[in-house]
């Protein structure tokens, strides 16, 4: 951790990307395995949250703050998608 620019190939950058990749893999495992539909919805929400994290890391390492807008949009779409999924699950339970 030397002072200066946060280079794209630096140790911390690679470490954070690797950790996020492992986390993404685990969440994807739950998405594939998850016994019920709400399990998969939760896994999908975690995956979009991880995507926001990856976008933020890439924003810093590429020194392009414009990408933060993409993070905002992804977070917004994730929330709307989750609420829509929940409505769908609940209506399906009610209609039988």
């Amino acid at each position: 951790m030397t002072a200066g620019e946060f280079a794209a190939g630096s140790f911390v950058n690679n470490l954070v990307f690797a950790v996020l990749l492992v986390a993404m893999y685990l969440a994807f495992m739950r998405l594939v395995r998850g016994p019920t539909l709400p399990d998969r919805v939760v896994a999908l929400e975690l995956i979009t949250t991880l995507t926001v994290g990856i976008i933020v890391v890439y924003t810093i390492s590429s020194n392009q703050p414009v990408f933060l807008d993409a993070a905002i949009v992804v977070a917004l779409v994730s929330f709307l998608g989750t609420v829509a999924f929940a409505q769908y699950v609940e209506r399906r339970a009610r209609d039988g």
């Binding site: 996020l20 975690l46 991880l50 609940e90």
Partner: protein
Amino acid sequence: MVDLSEALLVVGAAFLLLASVGIVRMPDLFMRMQAATKASTLGVGFMILAAGVYFDDLTISIRVLLVTIFLFLTAPVAAHVIARSAYFVGAPLWEHTVIDELRGHYDRRTHVLHTDDEPTEDRDDLAATEARTPDDTPIES
């Protein structure tokens, strides 16, 4: 500034990894959601804070603040909505669950929450629920 933002990034990534481990290892849906929602919100909050610290610019800071407020407002709402619908679908609880405090308080058919003191077991029963609806009550006199 770079050191601080690197430290914040590592902490955030650690919390996100914990959230993923939780979603794989926890025994039932509600615990998984607990782990995923809280830890991942904190992790992303740390990461976005790292971006704000790194760029050190007013417009970026405003954007960072916006994302943070948005995440902290929407994550609990989304978790609550999923948990509610999962409870109606009848997502199985962990076998060693000690108490289900909602049991008997939710009307399974109309999805109305009854907050009166005595939880009645027969509210899970559909026939009993229909007997209590106003349409089916016999008209006196």
